[in-house]
Symmetry: C2
Subunit: 420 residues, 2 copies
């Protein structure tokens, strides 16, 4: 099939995010406002916010988290943009990535020139067990959730299948966690703005202060193997293999490519977009890959006219450490069964050959599920413009990618970005 093409080009000219964390005094509309204001501040040239013509909002389940559906017009009111058309997208943890795609499509259609895309989720209003139940709604209620599955279980099944097929041990996954926390330590917006090493030191200091036995960990691996500090959640996944429960929001501004110069002299063009659906986990023949991620990335690569090797950095959907390993294979960065080795060899580190999740990823930056897809775009925007501060990768970033997954790949959405 010929590559799908959009009717006209789309540029990214602004990006912002709220602090990620657990905030008991902020609703999702407050978080959205924080992200919106930072996004506005990121736009290089003066603009009138009233020029924004439409909003696409990713939100997984304020319905359950806040007793609030129909969030798109409410956020629109909060930031003063009524009566702009406001559309909420819900595709589980891929909600914001799919919202980004709809924003791109809307500009390509000719209907709008200036579109705001955002995402928000306020998850910590509920206790952890209720959050786990709410997230489970993204699986298949009839055939999976009713059998007792929750998301740690889903991804533990992937990890088990992967270990069996490729001989990976859980230590490889610990390398993913360590790397993402190293990056998160350099991201002041991250929920876990601390490395694993830093975390260990904190725990030791706290124990000493409280007169408790001081842990004897010497290396990060000692910490990871400590069943008390890093308990099993669903074998082989331990606590530090799981992304946290996060409150947060993110926003980006898209404009028609021919108008990008009105907003900035350094626009980032979105040159590829791909989206695919996948069978629920119970209906698959192979649990070591997400077929939808392979298809979505192929669509995005074909549209952009690039290959995986051309991509300098990528933000991938590491809701669990195993998800990052599988993602780096599904995206064609590494061959099947090679992703875990690449992680262990440091290839995906910030100074490696293929930096993955320089933001800290969902793992350390945090995972406000309906916002994560756009938060990935925020990181790519900063890295491509050389504005990522301490965690800036070396050299130019001419091409980057984001990979956002809903459930276990029931939805995948991939975008390719180019700095002109």
């Amino acid at each position: 099939m010929a590559a799908r093409k959009l009717g006209r080009g789309v540029s990214l000219v602004g990006a912002g995010m709220s602090q990620f964390g657990a905030f008991h005094d902020k609703s999702s509309r407050d978080l959205f406002t924080d992200a919106y204001l930072e996004m506005l501040g990121s736009i290089d040239k003066p603009m009138n916010p009233g020029d924004i013509e439409s909003l696409y909002i990713g939100n997984f389940s304020s319905d359950l988290f806040e007793g609030q559906a129909h969030t798109a017009p409410l956020y629109t009111e909060t930031v003063g943009l009524v009566p702009r058309a406001a559309t909420r997208i819900e595709n589980a943890c891929a909600s914001a990535g799919v919202a980004l795609r709809q924003g791109i499509i809307a500009i390509a259609s000719g209907l709008y020139d200036v579109v705001l895309v955002g995402g928000a989720e306020r998850m910590n209003a509920l206790p952890t067990s209720k959050v786990t139940e709410a997230l489970a709604n993204a699986g298949d209620r009839l055939f999976e959730i009713s059998a007792g599955f929750t998301f740690p279980g889903f991804y533990a099944a992937l990890a088990s299948a992967y270990m069996h097929k490729y001989g990976m041990t859980p230590e490889a996954l610990m390398h993913v966690a360590m790397k993402n926390h190293d990056n998160g330590a350099l991201n002041s917006k991250a929920q876990f703005n601390v490395s694993i090493r830093g975390w260990m030191e904190k725990r030791k200091a706290s124990a000493e202060k409280k007169g408790r036995p001081i842990p004897t960990w010497e290396t990060e691996m000692d910490f990871f193997h400590d069943d008390a500090a890093n308990p099993f959640i669903a074998w082989p996944l331990r606590l530090f293999d799981c992304s946290p429960i996060t409150d947060g929001a993110a926003c980006v501004l898209l404009v028609a490519e021919e108008r990008a110069h009105e907003f900035t002299d350094t626009p980032i063009n979105i040159v590829g977009t791909g989206q695919a659906s996948g069978y629920p986990l119970h209906g698959r023949t192979d649990m070591t890959t997400l077929a939808s991620a392979r298809l979505a990335s192929q669509e995005a690569y074909d549209m952009a006219g690039v290959t995986p090797n051309d991509i300098r950095i990528a933000e991938v959907h590491d809701c669990f450490t195993i998800a990052e390993v599988v993602a780096t294979e599904d995206l064609g960065f590494f061959a099947p069964g090679e992703g875990f080795k690449a992680a262990m060899e440091g290839k995906t580190a910030r100074n490696g050959s293929k930096p993955i999740n320089t933001s800290g990823g969902l793992k350390a930056k945090g995972h406000p599920v309906g916002a994560s897809g756009v938060a990935q775009t925020v990181e790519v925007f900063k890295q491509m413009r050389g504005e990522a501060g301490e965690r800036q990768v070396e050299g130019d970033v001419p091409l980057a990618l984001t990979h956002n997954v809903g459930a276990t790949g029931n939805t995948s959405v991939v975008h390719v970005y180019e700095r002109k």
Copy 2:
């Protein structure tokens, strides 16, 4: 401002819906499948369902009704369309209308030629009080729902304001209910496939059979004023002013205009689309109009290059009888304060000058909230092609309109259809 334009034309070539009603043995994916199969059967020329390239699904809250989020890929799996990109839209009761708009935009963008748009809701899995609570999530949780508002209350406030401003009495609203039930009586898919007169006869026969006192109603107005048969829900709205709680689904197939001939010789073109957001009810200065509906319809009229007078029939969002009266004014069919008179004079009846809700509307056909916007399109498709059977309006229907509202107009979305 110049009228917004789409990059290319979009045609409607197929439409179907499930039976509407209360089905305790069907999940929303079953209902969606029913609608999908009827839609496929409505396509005049042979087609391969695999040619469908993407799906846009309206769904308000399977999250709460069925413990199931992320419904778009699940419905896609159910009808055998994995790995097509599947996107869920949630804009309260306007979810399906907004999904329709996204489908149109996606074709206009050049990305897809063949797009399925559907909506589904299975509401009767919960008891009525829980349904009312779930629907309330579409209002503003912080400033409205927390103060005790539910949707009958919202629309009762509109009705009170309207009565105060224009001197309407509740009898006018009863004319709306009577007219929509007359239409629903001719629609075998309707939840209430019976006229008010028929309903009265049934009640009388039932009372006689059970040896109870036979009601003495002679006219429909006698019935409407019977506090036992038609109790107040929220003054001035009575039971028969409210749409029911409905399980149902609807589906339509959109294609690029230049390819419509591959599917049918009588396509319906969608020549206008408009969407706007509105303030929550508590933030408005006028409760006798929905500003977002006025803006959305103006956008749709401008794009289509037509005026309200050109529209032959319309399906409007009559979640409550007062909503239909206000809609017919917001759409420019009647002047402010004249909508209720038009209803009383029969102008909106099937044989009137401006037939409204020939399907029976949300009131009699039923209101599966996330499906209603597309179910409106199904009716327009049938009427414009002369396939509406007993309820077919007289003469040609060259132009028609659908009007779908989320909450109290926090979202409005309007489409204009033309038969070439």
